[in-house]
């Protein structure tokens, strides 16, 4: 799909530790200037993937190419890959400026070049006046900025971040996310970012790769992945999701719709465009914000309208979340946007009718 040479390409990369396959047959590309997030639960192989790119872990199989060149067997100190460690790994016996100059010193850069480049890098991260400080005299956010300046000054052509914000408090985390993303866009430097925080990955990335037990589940833009999850795992990992199981009772190929007889009672129409027929039993996934409350009280019988009872109501400021129990006690989350007039009026024990619009439903095999 793309004529350009990717900044980085992984081809069928695999790594085992003993009997556990930490990374299994992973292939992806990183395009120039792109911000890519590796997202997945703990232990799914994100760090291992990153460490293979940086050269600290040697893959058992597969190839890693940097701008078309095979770097699989290059030692870490011959790669132009800047890794920002989770604990920042600043050298405690050096000043900030010496830390930032370290990579240039190792390249044998001239003194004047080093000075200019250190200054440039510290200005980029908005810390030009901190050159003479020691790392332990800096706050967490400042340490992180220095770590970024250090890999930038060293001339990395590619940035790697391993859970860069996990040591920061919530407010600073947001600020650093914005700052880092702006810096990355300004420099146009290709970046891979590892996180298990779905919000963080969505807010920062051009593209996401969702991983699960060492394998890639899905890759795409944040919107693609959120709206069209390809598996139950992705659907549930990317934010809140309702799942309703049922029996497939009919397929309308002309309209691309399947009809589901829900275990919780009621019928559900859902898009089905697969070449083969849906399986006999299937699960419908849909996001809480796509469900609307059409009316209070009992009634219905139409497709995609389900009756339930509000069990709990959680006010969250911009939105209110209702926990609605269906007939068989399955809970459905409904998220209503709060308007200027206040939150939606349904309180506990209110009888409601939910509308589940067909386009918002994703049908998947059970």
């Amino acid at each position: 799909m793309n004529q350009r040479v990717p900044e980085l390409r992984l081809e069928h990369v695999t790594k085992r530790f003993g009997s556990t396959a930490a990374v299994q047959d992973v292939s992806f590309c990183l395009w120039p200037g792109e911000f890519l997030s590796l997202l997945g639960p703990s232990g799914c192989g994100k760090t291992t993937t990153l460490r293979m790119i940086a050269g600290f872990v040697v893959p058992d199989a597969g190839r890693i190419l940097c701008r078309g060149q095979d770097i699989t067997d290059e030692p870490p100190y011959r790669r132009d890959v800047g890794l920002v460690f989770q604990n920042y790994a600043l050298f405690p016996h050096m000043t900030v400026a010496e830390n930032v100059a370290f990579g240039l010193k190792m390249r044998g850069a001239a003194r004047s070049v080093t000075r200019d480049r250190v200054q440039w890098a510290l200005e980029l991260v908005r810390m030009p006046q901190y050159g003479t400080r020691r790392p332990h005299e800096l706050s967490g956010g400042q340490q992180q900025r220095v770590a970024v300046a250090r890999v930038l000054a060293a001339g990395a052509s590619l940035l790697l971040f391993d859970e860069p914000f996990s040591n920061l408090d919530a407010k600073l985390r947001k600020a650093m996310q914005v700052e880092l993303r702006e810096l990355q866009q300004r420099l146009g430097i290709a970046t891979i970012h590892v996180t298990h925080d779905q919000q963080e990955a969505m807010s920062m990335s051009d593209r996401l790769i969702v991983m699960n037990s060492g394998q890639i589940e899905q890759e795409g833009t944040p919107e693609e992945i959120y709206r069209h999850p390809r598996s139950a795992f992705v659907a549930e990992f990317m934010g809140e999701c309702n799942r309703l199981a049922g029996r497939v009772v009919g397929v309308d190929r002309a309209r691309g719709m399947a009809e589901l007889d829900l275990d919780a009672g009621g019928r559900l129409l859902a898009p089905w465009s697969g070449p083969e027929d849906p399986p006999e039993r299937a699960v419908a996934f849909l996001r809480p914000e796509h469900i609307t409350i059409v009316s209070s009280g009992a009634g219905g019988g139409q497709a995609n309208v389900l009756a339930g009872t509000v069990r709990r109501r959680v006010y969250l400021g911009p939105v209110t979340v209702l926990y609605v129990s269906l007939n068989d006690d399955t809970d459905v989350l409904v998220q209503c946007t709060n308007s200027l007039n206040g939150a939606s009026g349904y309180g506990p024990d209110a009888r409601v009718q939910l509308h589940l619009p067909p386009p918002s439903v994703r049908l998947m095999p059970l």
């Binding site: 100190y77 800047g82 790994a89 600043l90 050096m94 920061l168």
Partner: protein, 304 residues
């Protein structure tokens, strides 16, 4: 006694990230009690030193031995006596040699231990020889280094030496025994500091284009200097005050300050002069340690 000047190796600052990563220690209600044994040891050493100092100001008479008085004659004699000067130089020579050899041999050992998975076992093996009494160890070396000992038999057998050499009753044999005895005191502080260095620092250096050698030279080595400082201070202090090895393996040919003091105290029964020599030894060791410690700390700070 000279150990009092050596503190535990300071922990290298860790890049833990996040402000306020400091741990706050909880105070035990009877925490002061824990200092009691230490205070007793240091206190009794201080008292011993004070008594020695008082003796060193007394006069000496061949017949009446120690005569109570207030005189500086002993210290004057000390400065004038060429035998004392030679003993001082010999002691310093042995102390410095032992410390340097222990450092050169011990650092790689400490590095290996700090990287190993069997750290506990290796530490035990390292310390195990200390369970043996110094006297026994010295006699062991006496046998090993003797005319028909293992070393001579091996080296002549392999054709390295044409004929057996005299090894015992030389400074060399004293140095060998002391290296054997003191190397754990070099290795342990270095290993414990190396162990606490965050391994990601080494990786960060490699990520910034430093090969393994340069990553060691610029990162690991400077960060391990507190351990080197503690190890060398400890080893040097112990080497300067060693007595058994010069006595057994020196066999009267190696005159260190400790031997001289022993002769003064027990053979000549000149307690005042022996006390003055003891005090002088303590002061010289303290002076060397202080000067070295200050210098080393300055270098460590500047090496960044």
């Amino acid at each position: 006694m000279s150990l009092a000047g050596v503190s535990a190796p300071p922990a290298p600052p860790r890049s833990r990230g996040g402000a306020g990563a400091h741990r706050t220690g909880r105070r035990l209600p009877w925490g002061g009690v824990l200092f009691l044994p230490g205070a007793l040891v240091i206190g009794s050493l201080l008292v011993a030193c004070l008594i020695l100092f008082r003796y060193s100001l007394n006069a000496w008479d061949p017949v009446r031995t120690m005569v109570t008085s207030w005189t500086g004659a002993n210290y004057l004699a000390l400065v004038r006596d060429p035998v004392v000067r030679r003993a001082f130089i010999e002691t310093l020579r042995i102390g410095v040699t032992v410390t340097l050899v222990c450092l050169v041999l011990g650092y790689p050992v400490a590095y290996g231990i700090s990287r190993s998975r069997k750290r506990a076992l290796l530490m035990f093996l390292l310390v195990a020889p200390l369970l043996m009494d110094a006297l026994l160890r010295s006699f062991g070396w006496l046998v090993m280094l003797g005319h028909h000992g293992l070393v001579n038999v091996l080296l002549t057998g392999l054709g390295v030496w044409a004929s057996p050499k005299r090894l015992i009753y030389t400074p060399l044999s004293v140095i060998i025994e002391m290296i054997h005895e003191l190397i754990p005191f070099m290795v342990l502080p270095i290993a414990s500091v190396l162990e606490r260095i965050d391994p990601t620092l080494h990786e960060a250096a490699m990520n910034l284009r430093a090969g393994p050698v340069r990553a060691f030279w610029f990162i690991t080595l400077p960060l391990s200097l507190p351990g080197v400082l503690a190890g060398t201070l400890l080893t040097f202090a112990l080497a300067m005050s060693a007595f058994v090895a010069p006595l057994i393996l020196g066999g009267g040919n190696v005159l260190t300050m400790t031997i001289l003091i022993q002769q003064q105290m027990l053979t000549t029964l000149n307690w005042p002069l022996g006390s003055a020599e003891s005090i002088a030894l303590v002061l010289v060791v303290l002076a060397v340690l202080t000067a070295y410690g200050r210098q080393a700390r300055r270098i460590a700070r500047g090496s960044a």
